[in-house]
Amino acid sequence: MSHSPLLSQLIDALRCLPGVGPKSAQRMAFHLLERDRQGAAKLSLVMKEAMEHIGHCSQCRTLSEDELCQHCADPAKDRSLLCVVETPADVMALDQAIGFKGLYFVLMGHLSPLDGIGPKELGLDLLEARLQQGEVKEIILATNPTVEGETTAHYISKMAGEYGVQASRLAHGIPLGGELEYIDGGTLAHAFSGRQRMG
């Protein structure tokens, strides 16, 4: 038995959600129609609003429906400190973990030339203009510990150097509670090269 055209459309549309295949999309559609029409109506309304109005902060590129996001608009933030991350989710993670008092710059990705993503695609011209203004004194590179994240951090650190801005990189290495023999060589090599003096 096949579904009515509209129901098929709904199931198909739900499949754009991450991790949702045809089976779970069908389950979701039935659940919403049979048990939670109110919730679904709200979802569709908010979804429409969000898709229409959420853009990027003009200063840090994170997702925001305002010209300036809450972070960038907050006068209490230390504007001389800038933390560069790959995604808006990284901003959330860092904020919750350390309550960073400076501002963020969200790349929305990392350098990946073979995917056609170079400095311009990451808005690094925007970042450069910002460094040029001279307000930023220190830049913290919190890109992921992948080859691409590392390459991105390196590129930005050189840029920072050209404007006399001090750059530092998040330490990365052995996860808390990890045991050396179970850690892959790449991680170990990074941890080793980033070792710190004791005492």
Binding site: P113, L114, P119, H154, K158, D184
Partner: protein
């Protein structure tokens, strides 16, 4: 077809479905292949640290054709230094060239070994430009596009270090005085001869050879420019 523990490097990878990846591999005995790696992007996957460019890995796969299935990947016992700093853009640059010049399934064991040596030598971040130029020269030669760096095009006349030449791709150097194509790249005999010897210690030679190789590589790559160039700062 099943292949076990094949030596390989990752040239490129990109997300596929929710938690999988397509991995473009340069393998020692099977050349360039593309494989699906299922689940390697999930948060728990142990493969994340292994499936990184510039790491010497051993992979097992099954299937044939355009897209095989990666069954296993682990680090090889061969020690490879970590690429950092200025070596990273060089690594991407070479990977982009290999992705575009190597045809799938063409076996190039020698290039594979030379590539491994190159990665090892890039790691010290010294003389990166020289290493890239020499690898490009080697690569073109292995692929049958060897440069003519010793004689005038179509003759037995050896190059003169003190004269200027136009370089014609697929032919070679022609004395600059005999032709008047002003838009053509002019290069000294000394630069060509030094490059022939693998000697790029002279700065002027390096500059001229850079222009030469840029032109030659672009010729074989086609119109689309190399994106990795933007990473050099």
């Amino acid at each position: 077809m099943r292949v076990q523990d094949q030596a390989a490097f990752i040239l490129h990878y990109f997300p596929y479905r929710d938690t999988s990846q397509i991995i473009e591999l340069f393998t020692r005995d099977y050349g360039r292949i593309a494989a699906v790696s299922r689940g390697s992007r999930s948060a728990k996957s142990k493969l994340k640290g292994v499936l990184q460019p510039f790491r010497y890995i051993q992979v097992s796969w099954s299937g044939k054709g355009e897209l095989v299935s990666l069954n296993r990947a682990e680090e090889s016992d061969v020690m490879m230094p970590l690429l950092t700093g200025n070596a990273l853009p060089c690594g991407f640059y070479i990977n982009e060239i290999l992705m575009r010049l190597l045809h799938k399934h063409d076996v190039h064991e020698d290039i594979f070994n030379e590539y491994q040596q190159l990665l090892v030598s890039l790691a010290d971040q010294q003389n990166l430009e020289i290493k890239l130029r020499l690898f490009e020269k080697y690569l073109l030669q292995q692929l049958g596009f060897e440069l003519n760096l010793s004689h005038e095009a179509g003759s037995q006349q050896a190059l003169d270090a003190h004269r200027q030449y136009f370089y014609y791709i697929e032919h070679g150097p022609v004395l600059a005085e005999q032709h008047t194509h002003s838009e053509h790249l002019v290069i000294s005999g000394k630069s060509l001869l030094d490059f022939q010897q693998g000697d790029l210690s002279d700065e002027k030679v390096r500059r001229e050879i850079k222009s030469l190789m840029r032109m030659v590589v672009a010729y074989y790559l086609g119109n689309k420019p190399l994106k990795s160039r933007e990473l050099f700062r």
